[in-house]
Subunit: 458 residues, 2 copies
């Protein structure tokens, strides 16, 4: 180990090498995943440049030490949870916004930059980086690793839609540059897209180039209670198909709606009889360049939702809308505070979401677990909280829920990534052919198996 420490100190300087048992290192050894453990890393290192990252990777390779990349630690799948003896590479010193380009509409940033920082910098030029996975302190590097999604994905797409170029350090210590400030490219395999979502198992990302979008200043929100989720889903298909291009399209079940309103001290003034009739709440936000058009569209949206079975439709005043959307973004923390034992991030075809939730609830009942939640209805992506203190019953519930999702044509993760939490489920439930391809790629790019072992695809 002392040999490793010496090499790491040579790579980044003694001030940026923490021992894994240091108090300061403890918080850097895991992310926010609820139901997956972590070990004690040998060291946490904090590089300041691509060359330092390359030197760290070389040191790790020469000493056969596993490496775990870490952004802001806001992940929910344990992708940044360190095994015993690993080196955690924390990117919190690499926070430069190198370029906001107003002709190419791209930003070039170091991986430690947060979504909040990038979006603020883009806004100064009338642009925006629209990825909002619920936690704006998340880092660009981390969101690239997990291919983070979030509420705006229904309009703007997930992280991979926006990433057009990467610089990264491979397992052999070499530096690769992919893509560029380019709107399109068809020059060989898309290594940018391969690395995006690879959770630090193929390379450590040291620079990210993303596209920026025009900021649309007007936003209006409606809340529509529905009797059941199947009706809500059918209505949402019409909304998306109409061309109204909603910026978010969320559903919440009744307990989750109550929980986030209570947590945010928010009263929406929905009459008791409507609440009693409602099993699902739909939240839709429209955005645009002009007040008059968004207002008109809101009326059209309201009519459409009413025709498609909404019990009622409420156009929310700006303040309430902002607070409700913010409360929805903070659902994870609300649910965690209420003692949820794990959260689920299954994605299914939108048409299968109601059936998936019915099966998930039934699985919960079979094992005495409480299963509730919300999700990105426009994307068919459910975020369920599972309450089950017994470890065995919890895992039995989770297994059945994930299996129900894949049986309906879905996947074990829509946007949180596989990490360590779902690596086993992916290995069991994923397409065997696709898993074989992943395995061969991983072996080809990291033959010694040092990049985030235990996380990601098998």
């Amino acid at each position: 180990m002392s040999d490793l420490r010496e090499r790491l100190v040579a790579a980044v300087g003694a001030a940026h090498v923490l021992d894994g048992t240091d108090d300061a290192a403890r918080d850097l050894a895991h992310d926010e995943a609820l139901a997956v453990g972590h070990g004690t890393p040998a060291h946490v290192v904090r590089p300041g440049s691509t060359a330092e990252v390359a030197a760290i990777v070389t040191a790790a390779r020469e000493t056969h030490t596993p490496l775990v990349a870490r952004g802001a630690g806001t992940g929910l799948s344990g992708g940044a949870n360190a095994p015993d003896g690993a080196v955690v590479v924390a990117f919190d010193r690499m926070t430069a916004i190198r370029t906001i380009d107003t002709t190419d509409h791209v930003a070039v940033v170091e991986p430690g930059v947060s979504l909040e920082q990038l979006d603020a910098a883009a806004r100064e030029h009338g642009l925006t980086y629209p990825v909002r996975p619920g936690e704006q302190s998340a880092s660009l590097g981390g969101t690239v690793a997990t291919n983070a999604g979030g509420m705006h994905a229904v309009r703007y797409g997930v992280t991979r839609t926006h990433v057009v170029g990467l610089e990264a350090v491979l397992a052999d210590g070499s530096v690769v540059r992919t893509g560029g400030r380019l709107a399109k490219i068809s020059a060989g395999y898309d290594v940018t897209q391969l690395l995006t979502g690879s959770e630090g198992t193929l390379a450590l990302v040291t620079e990210v180039t993303v596209r920026l979008q025009p900021h649309l200043p007007v936003r209006r929100t409606v809340l529509a209670p529905f009797r059941d989720l199947a009706t809500t889903t059918a209505a949402v298909a019409r909304v998306v198909g109409s061309g109204l291009a909603p910026a978010l399209c969320e559903y919440l079940d009744d307990p989750t709606m109550n929980a986030i309103c209570t947590a945010a001290d928010l009263t929406l003034g929905i009459p008791d009889d409507v609440r009693a009739a409602a099993d699902a709440y739909l939240l839709v936000e429209l955005v645009g360049r002009r007040e008059d058009r968004v207002e008109e569209d809101l009326t059209e949206l309201g009519t459409l939702l009413t025709q498609r079975g909404a019990v009622d439709v409420y156009a929310l005043p700006d303040g309430s809308a902002r607070r409700l959307v913010a409360a929805r973004e903070q659902t994870f923390w609300t649910i965690k505070a209420r003692g949820a034992d794990e959260i689920v991030d299954v994605v299914v075809p939108r048409s299968a979401l109601a059936e998936f939730l019915a099966r998930a609830r039934a699985a919960g009942e079979r094992h005495g677990s409480r299963v509730l939640g919300c999700g990105h209805l426009g994307d068919g992506n459910a975020h369920l909280a599972v309450f089950q203190p017994d470890d065995e019953a919890l895992h039995a519930t989770l297994h059945e829920v994930l299996a129900a999702g894949t049986a309906l044509g879905g996947a074990v993760s829509g946007e949180h990534g596989v990490g360590r939490a779902k690596a086993g489920a992916l290995a069991e439930l994923g397409d065997p052919g696709a898993l074989a391809v992943m395995r061969r790629i991983r072996a080809a790019l990291d033959p010694d198996g040092l990049l985030n072992p235990g996380a990601g695809p098998p």
Copy 2:
């Protein structure tokens, strides 16, 4: 060879195995690339199902025979050009549209379906498949192989934006399923994205799942002459940044504008003094759900273009607009009829496009070649025609043009793919680290090197 033939007949039936020297096979041994040759394949086979494709791949592997996949043959980089002795797998019998789903907004199709067929089927449900690479007879499989772009990419993105799931046969004959009818996924490496744009070098695609978009019925087009391309580019950055979300944003130089107007027998009525002052023509199309809004936006667009240096702005009547856009789509055929010796598909950062074109013209002048063209200005993607009958001077020109593009942060192909035409240029001008990754992936998935050898990444 007879052993190979027997195996192929066993795989697909004698009626679907052509000898490479048959008249019917000749046309299937190459695509539309201008400056790259092809050989005589051993056979052209026409499978009718995934199982038959798998059987073909197994036969080829067991006899060490190279395989070349072929869609509609509309490619422009020789990606479907057969080497001597190869087996061409033609997908023209696999033309089923399996699903148009109006809740999930996806289509599931066999690879031989054309863009035109898919879009027509989607339109029946108020949806559209917006990829328009200039040739609507192109197949879904072919456009997935090359990651085709086209005029609408500035608004809707290139092919990979739309592809959410694939079924494909790997080099070992196994069948892999990736993605699904899913708006998002973060469950291991994105094999869907890896195969998209891989030009038949990693797998043969047997089924494609794509997202569909709402069809927007209103479209209006303006034509704006500019004095120079740098001014045009700056104006386009403002248009895209404004949030007007144009559906196309094309530039044409004066000779190309003349050529396509002559070919389409189209008179636009632009006064001589304006034509004399114009070095670049900008074509912008706005789309929307409502006539009144698109009309308003058109006025705003005109004002913006005038403020940003347009010599004049012409709102085109519907008929002229449709004919001009169609003529622009057919530019390749016009240029080919005029004797162009090769076309170039370089992509650069939008901000570098004017500088790239200046360097490309200078390279042409150095070698006595005529270089002219048009391109997707919104995407920084230039389509240049090079006229130079002397082979050596042609290749010297092409090399300098491609090198100028990569020196400016671009790539050798924006949307046509590398194929055989640009494989050497990619190997020379691409990022060495990225090329090493591609090489390792290719070796891992096709260890015998039988999938489209000589095409794609080295």
